[in-house]
Symmetry: C2
Subunit: 598 residues, 2 copies
C-alpha cells in the first residue's frame, strides 16, 4: 500500500531539539523518526519503526542462516536468577529494580544470560541436544547515570542477544566462529564498515572475546591497531615488556629538595632548572639520549582505592612512567572484579605515610625511602619498569624527590599491573609493529562466556559416556537501536538523513508539485507502478504544500531515491534525484521506473 504524506503520521521539525547532543539524535527527531519521552527513553514514530524493522529483519535472516532460533524473554524478571549469578548486586545502580504488590523483588533485565541458561537447563539434558544457538530481539533496560547521545546510549534500547550452548571447548569454538561470521554478514548487509578488535583481557588470560567497531573519528571508544594487522580495544592491549638493563655501575640514588613540585610538570621544570641534564642510560628506557629532562624520566606514583566484592576498601599505589596516565578502562579490567577509583582526601588522612605529591616507590612491607615501616599497602608497577631502569621520583618525604633510583636495586614492587594508557608508537604485542590509536563505535560483541553461568546455575548435560558435564556458552550481542543511530550518525549531510538502501524506510519518495492535476495523476500512476514492482513507496501527495517544503522534507527524511513529478508531467517527464550524490536527471516516467526497478 502506497504511504501518502497527506495522511501519514509525520511532522518534520524546523528546529533542532534542545537536548540533542549528536547528529543522529538531532536528525532522527527533526525528520520525525523518534520522539523523546524521558531521559534516554524514546517513542518510535512510523518512519523510525520502519527502519528498525528492516535492521531487525536483516539480523533475523542471518541468525536463521547461522542456525539460531528466535525466542523472546520478558523484560520484567524475578531477582533470584540474578542473585544466583551475583549480578543482582554487581550491577549496582545501573539496573532498574522494583517490587511487585507482594513485595517480591524484580528487575528490568539489562541482559539475559541467566534466563537463557535456565531455559536450556529446564528443557535439555543430553549432549545430543547440542550445539544450540538461540537468540532474541528484545527491549532491554539500563539505568545509565547520564543517558546521552540520543539512541546511542539510552535507558530503554533494543538488543539482539544470542547465546550458544556446547558441551566441549571445540564445540564452542565452532559456535563462536559461526556467530562471528554471521556478524560479518550482518554488518556487510547494513553497509557498516567494521574492525574486529580483540577484547580479551590479556593479563587475566581467558576466553575469546571480540568487539566489532565501526571506525570513525567521532566514535566514543578508542582502539589500538598496527599496520601489521593487530587490533584490540585499549583494555585488551598488552604491553611488550622490555628486556632488563644491567644494574652494575649505575649511579647511586640522590635525594634532593624539590619544593612546590607536586605534579610531573612542575617536577620536570624543577629538574631542568636545578639538575645537570640526564646522563644516557640513567633514566627510564624510553628516554635514552635526551638532553633535557622530560616526563618520561620520571616515575609517577598514583594512589588508587579499590572496593572489593565483599565491600572492603583497599588502597594501592601504582607506579607508571610519568609521561603516561592511568587509563580508567584498563584499570577497571586490571582490578576486576574490584571497583577502582582515585583515592579520596580521607584515604590520605588515614594513611599518613602517603605524602601527597611526593610519593615514591613503596612496598607492602615498608617504604623504600624514609621510614622502614610495614605499610600493608601494595605497590604495583607498570610492566615497563624493568630491572635496571633508573627514575626520578618522589622520596616519600614532603618537598623532596630522588633521582637515579634504580628498579631491581633500590626498589621492587609487589607485582605488575596494566593500567597505564597506550600511546601511539607503542609496540603491538604480536610483533606487528608500532600501534596507532583510532576511534570507533561499538556495533557488536562476540564473547566466549565459557562455563561461568552454566556452573553457577547448574546447567549440565550427559556426555557420550553418560557423565554429567557443564555446558560452555557464548554470548553475541548487537544493539539494534544503537546500530540504527550509528547508521544515522554516518548517513547524513547538511540537508538531512541519507539512508543506505538496505535500511531506508522506503525505496522511493515520490513528490508531486504544482497545482496541475496532470502532475498528481502521473505521480499516482508512478506510485502504483512502483508498488506493483515490489518497491516501498512514500508519495507526497499533499495538495497545498509548496514544492520547497516538499523537497526539504524529502531531503530531511532521506529516502535514497526521490522522484519529482511536476512541470514536465504534461510531457510524461519526471526528475529522478539521487539523495546521496545530489544528482538530478530528467527523463520519461517509464525510463525512471525502469531504473528504479532495475
Amino acid at each position: 500500500m502506497v504511504t501518502r504524506l497527506s495522511h501519514f503520521f509525520l511532522r518534520t521539525l524546523r528546529e533542532d531539539p534542545a537536548d540533542a547532543e549528536v547528529t543522529s539524535h538531532r536528525l532522527l527527531v527533526r525528520a520525525g523518526y523518534i520522539r523523546r519521552q524521558a531521559p534516554g527513553i524514546f517513542a518510535w514514530l512510523p518512519l523510525g519503526l520502519r527502519v528498525k524493522a528492516k535492521i531487525e529483519q536483516i539480523i533475523r535472516d542471518e541468525m536463521a542462516a547461522a542456525g539460531a532460533y528466535e525466542v523472546h524473554f520478558p523484560a520484567l524478571l524475578p531477582r533470584e536468577p540474578y542473585e544466583a549469578s551475583g549480578r543482582w548486586e554487581s550491577y549496582g545502580d545501573s539496573i532498574f529494580r522494583l517490587q511487585d504488590r507482594k513485595g517480591a523483588d524484580y528487575l528490568l533485565a539489562p541482559t539475559h544470560e541467566e534466563m537463557f541458561t535456565l531455559l536450556v537447563k529446564d528443557l535439555y539434558s543430553s549432549y545430543k541436544d547440542l550445539p544450540l544457538a538461540i537468540y532474541q530481539i528484545q527491549d532491554k533496560y539500563r539505568d545509565e547515570a547520564r543517558p546521552r547521545a540520543g539512541l546511542l546510549r539510552g535507558r530503554e534500547f533494543t538488543m539482539k542477544d544470542a547465546y550458544s550452548f556446547d558441551y566441549t571447548d571445540a564445540g564452542l569454538e565452532v559456535s563462536y566462529q559461526t556467530q562471528r561470521d554471521a556478524y560479518e554478514r550482518i554488518f556487510q548487509r547494513l553497509g557498516l564498515e567494521y574492525v574486529i578488535v580483540n577484547a580479551d583481557n590479556g593479563l587475566m588470560g581467558g576466553a575469546r572475546s571480540e568487539e566489532f567497531l565501526h571506525p570513525t573519528p567521532v566514535g566514543e571508544d578508542t582502539f589500538v591497531r598496527s599496520a601489521g594487522g593487530y587490533a584490540a580495544n585499549v583494555e585488551a592491549f598488552t604491553t611488550v615488556v622490555p628486556a632488563p638493563l644491567p644494574i652494575d655501575g649505575l649511579p647511586e640514588p640522590v635525594i634532593f629538595d624539590s619544593p612546590d613540585t607536586p605534579t610531573i610538570a612542575t617536577l620536570v621544570d624543577h629538574l631542568n632548572a636545578n639538575q645537570a641534564p640526564p646522563a644516557p642510560g640513567v633514566a627510564g628506557p624510553a628516554t635514552d639520549g635526551e638532553a633535557t629532562w622530560t616526563a618520561a624520566h620520571t616515575l609517577k606514583n598514583v594512589v588508587l582505592a579499590l572496593t572489593h566484592l565483599d565491600g572492603t576498601r583497599e588502597i594501592v599505589v601504582v607506579g607508571i612512567p610519568g609521561d603516561r596516565d592511568i587509563d580508567d578502562k584498563r584499570a577497571e579490567v586490571a582490578f576486576a572484579p574490584a571497583a577502582v577509583e582515585a583515592a579520596a582526601a580521607e584515604d590520605f588522612e588515614n594513611n599518613p605515610l602517603l605524602v601527597k605529591g611526593y610519593i615514591g616507590p613503596w612496598s607492602q612491607t615498608g617504604a623504600v625511602l624514609g621510614e622502614e615501616s610495614a605499610t600493608g599497602i601494595r605497590y604495583l608497577l607498570d610492566p615497563r619498569v624493568v630491572d635496571g631502569t633508573s627514575w626520578v621520583t618522589g622520596a616519600n618525604i614532603d618537598q623532596k624527590h630522588v633521582h637515579s633510583l634504580v628498579a631491581g636495586r633500590d626498589f621492587t614492587g609487589d607485582g605488575f599491573v596494566e593500567v597505564a594508557n597506550v600511546l601511539p608508537g607503542d609496540p603491538a604485542p604480536d610483533g606487528s609493529g608500532p600501534v596507532e590509536l583510532a576511534r570507533g563505535m561499538e556495533i557488536g560483541h562476540v564473547f566466549q562466556l565459557g562455563r561461568f553461568f552454566a556452573e553457577t546455575l547448574g546447567l549440565k548435560v550427559l556426555d557420550e559416556n553418560g557423565k554429567l558435564v557443564t555446558v560452555t556458552m557464548g554470548s553475541y550481542g548487537i544493539g539494534v537501536t544503537r546500530i540504527l543511530a550509528i547508521i544515522a550518525e554516518l548517513s547524513n549531510d547538511e540537508k538531512g538523513l541519507v539512508w543506505p538502501s538496505a535500511v531506508a524506510p522506503f525505496d522511493v519518495h515520490i513528490v508531486a508539485t504544482g497545482k496541475d492535476a496532470v502532475a498528481f495523476d502521473l505521480a499516482e500512476q508512478a506510485s502504483a507502478s512502483l508498488e506493483d514492482a515490489g518497491l516501498e513507496v512514500v508519495y507526497d501527495d499533499r495538495p497545498k504544500v509548496s514544492p520547497g517544503v516538499k523537497f526539504g522534507d524529502a531531503e530531511l527524511i532521506g529516502v535514497p531515491r526521490i522522484l519529482v513529478v511536476g512541470r514536465g508531467a504534461p510531457n510524461g517527464e519526471v526528475e529522478l534525484w539521487d539523495r546521496r550524490s545530489g544528482e538530478r536527471e530528467t527523463m520519461a516516467l517509464h525510463e525512471a521506473i525502469a531504473r528504479l526497478t532495475a
Copy 2:
C-alpha cells in the same frame, strides 16, 4: 528454510505443568510454545513466537487497511503524564511502580492513552492533520493480584492498542466505525467467532463502547442477549422500568414479629409458616398470582460502603427485590469513580440505626419506620421498585419485619441505582424480548474515550474558523497474547493443539519414519517442494526417534496438516493427515503436494 526437528529448539513435555489451571496454559507449555518465568510472566519459545507473529501480522494488515499507522512507545514511562490524568493514583496496586537512580518515579505502562495524547499534542496543531489513527503492538504490564490462567491473565502481555483523534463528534463516529470494522475483519481472519456487546454505562449516559466477546461456556465474562439481537455485558444492561401501579385501596403496612429471620430465605419460610398467603396485587410486581410467599415478594436492603476519590467513606443502603443479588460489576459501574464494597462490621457499629438483618426502607433525612431521625445515609432503590409496589421488608427494629409496605406511599428512596443482577427472562431494554445470560471471553474492546484525556492533557487544535477546539479520541484494544491463548483454549483435543491455518506455526508438519533412507530422502524432497511452493514446513528428520513419539509430538504441536513419509516411500506413497478431523489418506507424494499447495 525448512525447520528441522533434529536441530530446532523444542522439547515437548509428557507431564502437565503443575501450575496450569486452564487447557491453553497446559498445552502451550507441554507442546513447547511458552515457558513460565515468574507468576504471570512467560518466555516465548520459537513455536510460540511464530504463532504470535502471525496474529500480529493479521492485525498489522488490517490496521494498515484501516489507515492506522504503527508507532511504538516505551514500556518504562515517567510518572508525570499519569499523574496529570489521575491514573498514577487510581491504578492503585495494579501497576508496577519504580524509581530510577535519581529517585524519579516511573511506571511500567498498563496502557498508553496519556502518551498517545501527548505525542499528538506535541506534533499536531490543526484540524487539517485530523482524522488520525495510530497504534502500537507492545508489551504491557499489570500487577494482577492473582495472575492466573496462563496467558489469559498475565502480568506482562502484548497488546495492540490503537487511538483515533478527531475534532468533531461526527468524525469520532466515523473513526470508531472504521476501527470496529477492522476488528470484525481481524476476528474473521483469526477464525474467532464473536459477539459485539454494548459496554455502555447506560445510567451514566456517555459515549459508545463495545466489547468483542467470544461466546463460550468456559468464558470468564457474563453477557446478556436476546433472540431479537440485543447484546450487552452485564454492566451495560439497563432495566426496563415497569409502569407505576395504583396506590389507592392497597392495605396498610403491618409490622410483625419475625424472630431469627435475618436472611431472605429465613424470612420467606417465616412468612409461609405464619402469614396468610399473599393477596394478588399486594406485593412486588413480578409476583402476581403466586400462592405462596417467595423471595420476589421481599425487598432486600443491602448496606454498601463507598470510597470516594478524595478518600472519604460513605455508607449507602440499597433496596433491591429479594430474588436478586448485588452484581459487583454493575455496582462498580453504578458508583464509579467511587470504589464499592460490602459494609464492614464497624460500619454497623458506627451507625446504630442500621439494624443488621432487619433493615427497612430508609431515607437520608430519617428512617421510614422506627425513629424519625436524620440519618445522613442515602437510600437508593432498584428501578423496579416503582410507586404502588407492595413489599415485605425489614422494620428497622430488631426481630421485626413489615408487610404491605407500599413504594410511593409508605417510602421513597433518595434515587435509583442499577446494581441488581440481571436474571434470564428480564426484558431487553430495546424491546427485543426476554434476555438470556451467556458466557464469553473478551477478545477486543472499542471505546469512545471522548475528550477526557485531551482536556486533561491539553490536546487542542485550531478548527476551520481558527478557534482552538479540544480533540475527541477513541481507544481500540486487542490483547495479542490473550487472543493466542483463547485460540489455543478453543483449538485442541485430547491429543494436543489443533491450530487454525491462519495462525499455525507452520503450514505442514512432515514426519519421516522408519530406518529406511528412502523415506528420509522422499521427505527431504517433499520438504523442498513445499517450501518452494511458499509453504512453511517443519520436518521431523530425527533419525533415532520412534514413529510413535514423532506422531505424538506432531499431534501435540498441532500443525493442521501432517505428511507422513514411511513404509510407502519406496512406492512414492505418503500419508496425508488432517489434524482436526483425524482423517488419513494414502496417496502419491505429488498428489499430496498438489493438495497441500492447492
